[in-house]
Every structure is written in C-alpha cells, then in structure tokens.
Amino acid sequence: MGKIMSLEEAVKTHIRDGVSIAMGGFTGFNRNPVAFAWEIVRQGYKDLHYIVGHPSCATFLMHAGGNLGIHENSWCGFGEVFAKVDLAGARLLREGKMIFEDWSHGQQAFRMLAGAVGAPFIAYYAPLGSDILNPEYDAMKKAGLRDGSNPRIPKEKFIIMDDPFYGGGKVIVVPAAKPEVGVIHAQKVGDMGTVRIQGLTSEDKEIAFACDRLVVTCEEIVSEEELRRDPENNLVPFIKVDTIVEVPYGAYPSGVPYYYDYDSELIKTWDKLQRDEEAIRKWMEEWVYGPKDWNDFLGKVGVDKLIALRASRSTGYSGHMQRGKNPSPQVFTPFSWRRKAEEV
C-alpha cells in the first residue's frame, strides 16, 4: 500500500522544524507514542508546535531533547503515581526557550473534536472565571503568534459569548485544534491502515481526524481482513491513515493494554534525573542518542524487564510486576464487581 514505513523513515517524512504536531495516549500510563518522540529527538528537529493533552513520556523526551518551540497543553507531568511535574518542561518555560499555553483537559478535548469534525470552533463552559482565560496569560498572543499569519494558530485563544439560543448565560468558544501531523500508538493496524485500539481511547480518534497527516505506530500490523470482521470496534478508518509503523514496545515505558504494562521504574528514574540537567543529558546520551535503533534500545532495557511487564491477554495488564510496596495479590475473580452485584 505504500503506507508502511520504518520509524526512521516515518519521522523523516513527516517531521520538519516548526511542524505542528499532536500526540495521543494518556499520561505515562497509556499508549504514548514514545518511540516516535524518541526518534524525533534523535533526528534533532527544532521548534515543534506541540498541541496535546497529556502524552507524558513522549513529551518528557522532547523536552529533554529541546525539540519544542510552542507547547499547548492541558496537563504536563508523568502520571500521578510517579511524579506529577515535568521539570524539564518547567525549565524550558522558565528560560524562555519554549512558549507554553495553558488549557484545561476539557478544552483541549473539545478543541480536538472541533478540528476532527471540521468545525472552526466549539462551545464549552469550563473554566469560566479561571486564569486560563486571563488575557495576560495568553502566551502565544504575547509572543505575537496570533496575527493570523500561521494558519494553524487561531487569532484568538477564545471568545466568550452569550448563548443566543437558550438564554443560558455566558459560554466560552474555543478554536479547533489543527495540527499538521498527528501521531497515535495503537495495538493493531490493518495492512491498509484500519486502526484498532483496545482499552481507553483518550483523544486519539479526535487527534487522528484533526490532523492533516496521521502516523500510526503500532504493536502489530495485522491483516486488514481481521479488523474488518467487526468494524464496530475500529477507531480510525484506513483512509485517514497516512503512515503505519510497526514498532513493538513502541509506547514503552507507558503501557499498552493487552501487550505490556507501564514501567514505573524508568519513569521514576526520569523523575529523579530531571532535577539535574547533567544527569538527564547523560541519560539521553546513553538511551536516546546512543542506541543503533529502537530494538537496540529495547535490548538495553532487557528481557527481564520486558517479561515482568508482559500484559495478561485476559485483563490487559501485568499481574506480576511490583507496583507498590507490597507485591500485587493474585486475584482471579473480579471481586468488587461481584460484591456489588450479589452482596449488596
């Protein structure tokens, strides 16, 4: 089909300095397109305009790599159990090396939906009254970016208008998100491009349609026919997919339901390292710039780790990795479910 590429090719084809890009997944826990971000860092593109909610591991790498110029975001951290704050990003912000525009999760999701369905804007009430709407804190306007010259940057961050239909008070109208490139990580993609995602979908469908060119990295390229036997379960149709990259463990250290769990250890390591610029630099040298390719990186991660993270095909997560201070109890009955249904 001509859609299937290697990771290197895909990044080279779709990324250039200054490109606007959205990425999928949710925090450090679920389907961040990490391998793709890792390869962006290796290829060294600059000044990306990043429009996202919370693909935290991918974001951290690009912060550490200094690849972002504008970052529109609603939650910048790793994931609650690890560390909520992305200090590498905070540093860039403080040093004026990156323009950071704050949104709420709901706003970013609605903006992405508007972009996905071709609407120029969308109405959302929250958070009326918040400093997110403070004109002083419209970082992109302050930087002179809202002059209409960039077709992907709206002339206003938002407008507030009175509901003309139901007399329902004020409502915030936010502009559609229009990233040039979207990157999502899926479990399976058919050889023509049909995308199947298992587990929560975050904003991945909205990103897939809001962007002009979509790259889907995936755990497996499978027969298109397999995915079309139950088309209700496909998230994105093949016509919206420009490039498919098969990259096993491509979301590591975030998790991919039914394939592998998140690696708390690596994310906690990042959290420690980020306090010290030199320490991050060293880590990046060894783990990002050093490896021959993604498989080589996985080789360094090691088999023991990958086996510990192996997800059960029944529950979608690992029953074996230790997450807390005590080991996970082996539970084979959905007890809280049954408690509710039978005992109450």
């Binding site: 929250a126 403070n134 302050k142 004020k170 998790g255 807390g324 109890p329 959905p334 509710k340």
Partner: protein
C-alpha cells in the same frame, strides 16, 4: 497467597467500632474522611491517590452504588487491583463504558451527570478556588511550575459538588491564589477580570450552583458558608482549631467547629488496607498494627 474471597468474606466479622488514636495513620483518616463525602447515588469523578482510596472504600461500605468515573474515559470500572492512575488499564476492568476524554468531559461532565468531584491542588483560596499551575515567581517565570489544570478546572466548576484534598500550610491556604486554575465561589469575570461570585459569572449556565463543598486537609475538614467562604468544621484528633488557623494565611472562621473529625472504624481500616490497597500503592508501607482481637480475625 491470600485468597481474596476470604478477605472479602471477613468484612462483616471486623467490628465497626471506632479505632483508637495510634491505631491508624493520618492518611487513612484523610482517605476515610473523603469516603464519608460519597453518597450512595453519587457519580464521582476521582483522581489518583487519597480520593481513589476514599471512594473505593465507600463502594465497599457506605456507598455501594456510587459510580466512579476516571477522566481518561472509564465509567464504573470494578478494579481487581487498585489503579496507579486514572489511565491505568486496571481502572477499566468490568467498566460499563470505556471511551475517551470526550465521553468524560463532554457526555458526562458538561452534560451535567457528575455529582461529586475529588480534587487536590497546590494552594486553595478562602472561596475554594484552587491553583495547580504554579507557585512563586510569575506566570512566565515560575519558581515552581506544576502540571496545569488537567481536569481540575473542568471538574471543579462543573461537578455539582467538589471536595479538595490539601496539605495544610500557610502558603497553601491563602486569601487569593497567585493563579486561579479552578475557580471556587469567587472568580474572575473575563475580559474585565473583575473578581465576582461564581454564581454571577456563571449565571444562566447549568453550572452556576456547582462548586466546592468541602476540603479535607491533614489537620481538619472544612466547609463553605452561604457566602462561599471556607470555615473549619472539624479538627483531626489531637489538632486544635487555633493550630489550623495558624496554618492558614487568611482569617479562617473557626467559630463553627463541631468537634473532632470522626476517627476511622476498624472495619473501614480493614477494607482500606486489605481490599482497596493491599499493595500499598498509596498507603504507607508501615501502618499501625491492628489491635490483638482484630489482628486475629485478619490473620485467620
């Protein structure tokens, strides 16, 4: 390996009597204070950590029909293992719907279905407005930059009731937030930026009456009066109203204190420790021991 069926079967054997001070950790007290906020008919938007512990405990005891929503796209999951985050695959087990952010922020939250939100913050103002964006320096050159809103400002303004879990410090309980991420009962009226009651700014919308109804800190539990001002309701065991007030930058109303924050019962502690978080993902690893009589049942 423990047999989880036995662990559950024992809930009713554990006496529901109030634990003595020393038999529980402060975090447990806080989680269970959160748990008491949950009504049986609540639809709850919960974040990770103490709120999750509180709600999962409530589902086992006082609010079995309460419905839990994780903002990542999960409705009424019945986890076998406590999720490490709202986007942990563990959270989606046996859920009624598994989708994405448009489901949670659109179809559930802005549609008005969420009755209770549990949130935290870096600082809180006397009207329950919260900052999760930055502290110190200024917006463009922050001393401490945090995650930013996430779902905080959405949930905090559109869930019918919101309860915040906060660390009690002078710099965190303040007159006005340096940055109001999530408006409380007073907020900014943009574009003028006038500081006004939320009920005015949001007038006519379906959410004018939604807002903070409680705060659980490590020293006490707070409510909001008819003017939307925070007051102290109860102090945690061993804490005086004056001590709480000292750890507040604004002039805290301590005239309405009703007494001590209820202490956990042993049954609540049992559910929290053995069923909700046996992995000690959020609870500290070293917790006070059960008293002998209860230990016997637990270990049987």
């Amino acid at each position: 390996m423990k047999n989880i069926e036995n662990v559950i079967a024992k809930i009713n054997q554990i006496p529901d009597e109030v634990a003595r001070v020393g038999d529980f950790h402060l975090n447990e007290l806080m989680a269970l204070a959160a748990s008491r906020e949950v009504n049986n008919d609540d639809v709850v938007f919960a974040g990770t950590g103490l709120p999750m512990l509180g709600i999962l405990t409530a589902q086992c005891l006082n609010a079995p029909d309460a419905v839990l929503i994780y903002e990542s796209g999960i409705l009424d999951g019945r986890s076998m293992h406590i999720p490490g985050s709202v986007a942990d695959q563990r959270a989606s087990f046996m859920s009624s719907q598994l989708g994405g952010l448009m489901d949670t922020f659109g179809y559930y939250l802005q549609r008005g279905l969420v009755t209770l939100g549990f949130l935290s913050g870096a600082s809180i103002d006397k009207y329950g407005g919260v900052n999760v964006t930055y502290l110190g320096g200024d917006y463009y050159n922050p001393k401490h930059r945090f995650t930013g809103s996430g779902g905080n400002s959405d949930i905090g303004t559109m869930a019918k009731r919101t309860v915040f879990i906060m660390l009690q410090e002078k710099r965190r309980f303040i007159e006005r937030n340096q940055y109001t991420t999530t408006p409380g009962w007073w907020c900014y009226d943009w574009p003028s930026g006038d500081w006004k009651p939320k009920k005015e700014v949001w007038k006519g919308t379906p959410f004018a009456e939604c807002g903070p109804v409680g705060v659980v800190s490590n020293m006490g539990v707070f409510r909001f009066d008819d003017n939307g001002e925070m007051y102290l309701e109860t102090c945690h065991p061993g804490v005086t109203p004056e001590q709480v007030k000292e750890n507040c930058s604004f002039d805290l109303n301590i005239s309405r204190v009703t007494g001590e924050t209820p202490k956990p019962t042993y049954r609540q502690l049992y559910v929290l420790r053995e069923i909700v978080d046996p992995e000690r993902l959020f609870l500290p690893v070293s917790l006070p021991e059960y008293p002998a009589g209860i230990k016997e049942i637990v270990e049987a």
